[in-house]
């Protein structure tokens, strides 16, 4: 029975397959170097924040937690220049980071506050301003990825029940089958760990997700996000607290405030144009960008529709719309701050399995046009923390599927509509494909997602 299971997981368990059952049984009983209650695979922004949140939870105080990150530990010193990778952190995520004491560290270093979001579209002059109803409450905060990571990593150090290993790459995972309750991990350096609950925070190309045989729908946009740090043309008394976004035929371009003089760019466009933009001399690049922000384009009703749906999205986020303002002018850029990242869509119809949970980009990948990627991940962290607290405080095991199921359905209920809205918006603005097709497809996926446990069990039974 056990052996069948192993043989079926082709590739992943190659070693065991070669050495056969005998070796596997030894592996089970003797070769585990250490056992943990929880192992978190992947120490990106989401994984490290999760580790820290669980580590600081008094109800989980007696649980041994291990965080594994393939990359090197990065000791933090505030760089003079802004890093080109920044995210917009929404108030919910900010609250989470405050609750684990990481926000202090961020504020002590640097963070920009967004009080207004200005969206306008290239094919008409229509523009919409979004601001928070209670005036001084920000819409979001712009923080460098590295700074978030440093802040949560610092707090993670202070959790006595949490162990962190850097340069620790997981080679493969052996998830529990019907009879077993333990998940096993084989590390690149030959070590073996086991745990009751594995939390997959290993990003878009998640190996944990692949081991779960989760049903994953994904596509590439054939687009890249060009990022850079920009210098703004200074008007006297200018306060840079507005995030700007303009819909262009090739994709949206966004300017996120860093300081009164600097903004961060995320320019989504075709791979072809992205490559060209990266190769342009810096002055020419700035010229192109100003044209994109301020230039005029042919009108289309489709895009007006897109604006409407964006309006609806933001209303859902509690940002009522008002009237318009003028776009800033870019006068230069930080040397060598340009880079480009591929953009894609992905959603796993299972977030949980026996002894395993997916969190953050491992479970869902979204277009950056609404700045929601890491915020969805932080929302996952919040919810998973609550669900695990509830499970343990009710005498359940950490891997009790009936509790984990709550995490899955609650997060899918939140993440999917957001992903569909953003995806619909993206399609409306860049393609002529009717969004209905997409919505229908995803709607189907959604109803499927409501019974993932059933599906999972069926798939297990058929092995």
């Amino acid at each position: 029975m056990l052996n069948n299971q192993i043989l079926n997981k082709k590739g992943v368990c190659l070693l065991w397959k070669i050495k056969g059952k005998f070796h596997f049984q030894r592996f089970l009983s003797q070769n585990i170097d250490r056992h943990y209650d929880i192992i978190i695979a992947g120490g990106g922004m989401v994984g490290t924040t999760l580790a820290c949140t669980l580590g600081k939870n008094s109800i989980l105080k007696n649980k041994k937690i291990l965080l594994l990150e393939a990359g090197k530990e990065k000791p933090w010193t505030l760089p003079e220049k802004y890093n080109n990778r920044v995210v917009s952190v929404n108030p919910g995520s900010q609250k989470l980071l405050s609750s684990i004491n990481a926000w202090n560290f961020i504020e002590k270093n640097r963070v920009a506050t967004v009080k207004q979001l200005q969206v306008w579209e290239a094919l008409s002059d229509a523009s919409i301003t979004f601001e928070q109803p209670k005036n001084n409450e920000p819409i979001s905060y712009i923080v460098e990825n590295d700074l978030i990571l440093a802040a949560v990593a610092e707090q993670a150090q202070s959790c006595p029940n949490l162990e962190i290993q850097y340069e620790a790459k997981v080679k493969n995972y052996q998830l529990p089958d019907f009879n077993a309750d333990i998940t096993q991990l084989k590390m690149e350096n030959g070590q073996n760990f086991s745990c009751n609950l594995l939390l997959g925070c290993d990003g878009v190309n998640s190996t944990v997700r692949k081991c779960m045989h989760a049903n994953y729908i994904s596509w590439n946009y054939g687009q890249m996000g060009v990022v850079a740090t920009l210098q703004l043309d200074q008007q006297p008394g200018f306060k840079n607290d507005v995030a700007w976004q303009r819909f262009l035929p090739n994709g949206p371009v966004a300017l996120l405030p860093l300081t009164d003089e600097l903004s961060s760019l995320v320019w989504s466009t075709t791979i072809q144009q992205a490559k060209e933009l990266l190769e342009l001399p810096e002055e020419r690049f700035v010229e192109q960008l100003n044209k994109a922000i301020g230039g005029t384009f042919k009108k289309s009703s489709l895009v007006s529709q897109a604006i409407n749906s964006f309006d609806n999205l933001l209303r859902a986020l509690n940002c009522p719309s008002t009237n318009q303002a003028t776009a800033p002018t870019i006068c230069g850029m930080e040397t060598n701050s340009r880079a480009a990242f591929p953009l894609g869509f992905g959603h796993s119809s299972q977030y949980i399995g026996k002894g395993v949970v997916l969190v953050g980009d491992a479970a869902h990948r979204i277009h950056p046009l609404a700045g929601q990627g890491v915020n969805l991940g932080f929302g996952d962290v919040n919810c998973l923390n609550e669900v695990l607290t509830k499970a343990v405080y009710s005498g359940g095991g950490l891997n009790d599927l009936s509790y984990l199921k709550e995490y899955e359905s609650e997060r899918q209920k939140h993440n999917l509509p957001m992903m569909i809205a953003v995806e619909g918006l993206h399609r409306l603005t860049t393609t002529t494909l009717a969004p209905i097709v997409l919505l229908r497809g995803l709607g189907l996926q959604f109803s499927n997602a409501l019974v993932p446990l059933k599906k999972y069990l069926i798939s297990q039974a058929s092995i």
């Binding site: 009710s394 359940g396 009936s402």
Partner: protein, 268 residues
């Protein structure tokens, strides 16, 4: 001490066989449960509703004890709020409720009239490294050597299998310390309850084994409450419980015409 307990349960065994007519145990009921022993811990098998009921009844017991003020302050926001409390699980079966209570820190004793199922319970606890004292015994025998021993008693989904409920409850009460809490979940004696738990659950959906319930043993909350009072047990709360067969979830509700739970406290 353990020797003594063993003796106690050996004695019970003989006692049961010789005098089963004078105990609260209905032999015919016990036979019904024997068949379930093998798949007791199958989360989606015949005991599916018992597994999913944990999400409701464990917090019911935990919060009931917290509200009674018997939980120590320093244990409140930890994984073991029930630390140092002794709990007797009467009719524990394979331990579906005993185990989470043990994980919450309680010293749990589980008794059941089915030796085969007690074996299942022992094996499962051992596998999960849980220290639970499982005994094959009837409540009246147990009460003889455990007078006022327990901070709390749980009797979940067993009362509807007992004919002599007064005897059963008074033995429970004897085991309870003064001011101790008893938590009971059971089925109401209404037409709707019979229809749902026998016709729908046993026949139509085949959710639980046929013949597991006999409606004449179901009891109305007000009658149970009166019986409890006769045993010095004062009712604190009654909630209705609603089972959604499609989602396999239990919810608390105000309507107690089908399933319900009671928390009562022993008055001195």
């Amino acid at each position: 001490m353990t020797k003594f307990l063993r003796k106690c349960s050996n004695f019970t065994f003989i006692h049961l066989r010789l005098q089963s007519h004078s105990t609260t145990i209905d032999q015919q009921e016990i036979e019904q449960f024997k068949k379930l022993a093998k798949e007791w811990w199958h989360e989606f098998g015949s005991n599916k509703p018992l597994h999913s009921m944990n999400k409701l009844r464990v917090p019911f017991v935990r919060d009931g004890l917290i509200n009674e003020g018997v939980v120590h302050e320093q244990n409140l926001k930890t994984s073991t709020p029930l630390k140092n409390l002794s709990i007797l699980d009467v009719g524990c079966g394979g331990g579906i409720l005993s185990e989470p209570l043990c994980r919450l820190g309680a010293n749990v004793t589980g008794i059941d009239a089915n030796p085969g199922i007690i074996d299942v319970a022992k094996k499962h606890a051992e596998k999960n490294h849980l220290n639970i004292n499982y005994l094959f015994s009837s409540i009246e025998d147990h009460s003889k050597c455990h007078f006022e021993k327990y901070d709390s008693i749980v009797a979940s989904e067993i009362l509807e299998h007992v004919t002599e409920k007064e005897k059963f409850l008074s033995a429970c009460s004897a085991c309870l310390k003064p001011l101790g809490s008893i938590f009971i979940t059971t089925i109401n004696n209404t037409a709707l309850a019979s229809f749902l738990s026998i016709f729908v659950a046993e026949t139509v959906l085949e959710l639980v084994p046929k013949g597991i319930h006999q409606p004449d043993k179901f009891i109305e909350p007000y009658r149970l409450q009166r019986m409890l009072e006769d045993c010095n047990l004062k009712t604190k709360v009654i909630h209705g419980m609603f089972y959604n067969v499609f989602t396999n979830n239990w919810h608390l509700c105000s309507n107690n015409s089908v399933n319900y739970c009671i928390h009562a406290v022993k008055i001195c």
